[in-house]
């Protein structure tokens, strides 16, 4: 039997029982729709979260004070970790492969200008802040390259702060009070929006040393290091660790490379996507049972036809192929319909709710169709084998 004929014969029974085929196929279609829809949302979320985390570039290492591990009991004075200082940040600048270093300190304070008062985030940063995080200044410039310990009282405004306090005015050169101290405005940042709940635009940027003083803190919250793209991450981490160990006498700090964090995050999100997809898979299973039922019925209804085919010279294998072909055709068409429906609903949802990220990877679509066909195959095997093994004489006798 030639392949096009196999298709033609299986399609003929598909068309002869249109309603039944449609209903059975829709079982698989609903399953595939569920899988595609859920994984599309899962994958969209995945990409959204990853892009939120990686928009500052992936060549970042965050250094935080304190070692995150549990050790023995209280060891008195030796147990307390030394704070990360601005000098530490200065020293890191001279390591090989390091491009930019930013000491950072964050808090909340009242800013006042033009008779208006606003409580905003105050972010203590270094001169290289914009380069470390690939951010842009809209007007003026970022904090100058002063001696970081003796930095002048300059401030850069987030776009929202500028809008609220200086609506319609040019803020450059004017004075602003941050926590009761006078700062001169030297620049305004480009709007950036919220990043994981932190509004970059409702923030003012002042030199890190002044922020420490303002919030009365002994050390920085974090030092961010930007290393050269293509540099060996492990080597960079080793160099930083060695330098800080030497300066602190022991390892009382923690390095968090962005790349590693992204890897962990990615694998967590993969598991979520997979779990959600598996949930949709349950409805696929139900669709498979539908195919099994309908094929079993088809075999008993068409027993005489099977006998005839055998009399006309069909081998057992050909009968098997014909019935298996029908099961696969049902599931493949159902799968295809589900694929279109799933992608359609996902895109429709995205159009209705733009905040909901959706993404259907090609691999998932191909995989889903493959799964649908496999289910058809699995559900068809039993009835098809029964059909093939019928005794032709007995089969011909049934009407």
């Amino acid at each position: 039997m030639l392949f096009p004929d196999l298709i033609r014969l299986t399609a003929s029974s598909f068309l002869a029982y249109r309603m039944r085929s449609l209903l059975t196929g829709s079982g698989i279609a609903i399953g595939i729709t569920a899988v595609i829809l859920l994984t599309s949302i899962g994958e969209g979320l995945h990409q959204f979260v990853l892009s939120e985390f990686s928009q500052f570039g992936t060549n970042l290492i965050a250094i935080q004070p304190g070692k995150t591990q549990t050790q023995g009991g209280n060891v008195g004075i030796f147990g307390s970790s030394r704070p990360l200082s601005i000098e530490d940040a200065q020293a890191l600048r001279h390591l090989p492969n390091i491009e930019h270093v930013n000491p950072s300190m964050q808090g909340n304070a009242e800013v006042r200008a033009n008779g208006k008062t606003r409580r905003t985030t105050v972010y203590g940063a270094g001169h290289d802040f914009t380069k470390t995080f690939t951010l842009n200044v809209q007007s003026g410039s970022f904090l100058p390259d002063d001696d970081p310990t003796q930095a002048r009282a300059f401030v850069v405004l987030g776009s929202k702060v500028r809008q609220e306090l200086y609506a319609g005015q040019n803020p450059l050169g004017s004075y602003l009070s941050v926590g009761g101290q006078r700062y001169r405005v030297v620049g305004v940042m480009e709007p950036k929006g919220q990043i994981l709940g932190f509004d970059m635009d409702d923030t003012v940027f002042i030199p890190a040393a002044r922020a420490l003083e303002l919030f009365n803190r002994p050390g920085l919250m974090e030092i961010q290091v930007n290393y050269q793209a293509g540099a060996d991450l492990d080597g960079v981490v080793r160099a930083i660790t060695a330098l800080l160990k030497e300066r602190h006498g022991r390892e009382d700090f923690t390095l968090i490379p962005q790349e590693k964090a992204l890897e962990v995050l990615g694998s967590v999100l993969d598991v979520i996507t997979f779990a959600v997809g598996a949930l949709g898979g349950i409805s696929l299973l139900v669709g498979g049972v539908g195919i099994l039922t309908i094929m079993t019925m088809a075999v008993s209804e068409r027993t005489a036809e099977i006998g005839l085919l055998r009399a006309l010279g069909a081998r057992e294998k050909q009968v098997l192929m014909l019935f298996l072909g029908e099961a696969i055709l049902l599931s493949a068409l159902g799968g295809l319909a589900g694929l279109l429906l799933g992608i359609g609903i996902a895109q429709g949802l995205h159009a209705l709710i733009p905040a909901l990220p959706v993404h259907t990877p090609w691999l998932f679509a191909v995989l889903a169709e493959f799964v649908a066909i496999s289910i058809g195959l699995a559900a068809g095997v039993l009835p098809a084998r029964r059909a093939a093994r019928l005794d032709p004489v007995e089969a011909l006798r049934t009407e």
Binding site: M1, L2, A16, G307, L309, L312, G313, A314, Q318
Partner: protein, 224 residues
Amino acid sequence: MIRLDKVSRSFTVGDQQVTALRDIDLNIAAGDYVSIMGPSGSGKSTLLNLIGLLDRPSSGIYKLDGGNVTDLDDAQQAKVRSEKIGFVFQSFHLVPRLTAAMNIELPLILAGIPVTERKVRVEALLENYGLTDRADHRPDQLSGGQRQRVAIARATSMHPAVLLADEPTGNLDQATGREVISLLEQLTEQHVTLILVTHDPALGGRAKRQLHMVDGQIVSQTAS
């Protein structure tokens, strides 16, 4: 052509052994026209199924065209059926969802004959059996006589050496039945071996050689 040597066939029904055929010895030459008659349950259909390789003898030897076909496996049996044997049934056994043309084409499809050759053969058969204008009709749109003509066309599409007809006129009125029989008899003129199973003596009497069966045995043979 067909040679049966002490062929028996028995079935187990419940815990009882039922013998449908008992030590049948039979020789049928190529181009013969043979009718098998007898009451129902006499084993004539079983004999026909055996000759058609849809069944296997419990004992004895069956030779077809000089070759021993007693113990062929499924694929080999199917190949012989496809190439050498045509079936015509009482209830036509057309596939209801396929057109007349496609029903005729079925044995050619199963045998893997190329499309172009199939088309030529099917068209010739439709023409021969006066079905050209019925080619695209489904069986339920055809009369009984037309249906049986489609079935005969289908049975002859692979140019079989043996044609087996089991009560081919059983579901037809007398006039149509005669028409169908004459079509089958024309085939014997083309050197096709025709074996006809019937319980109608008038019909069976037309054959050159008549076998009478009772209780799984051939009790008498007449030739005319």
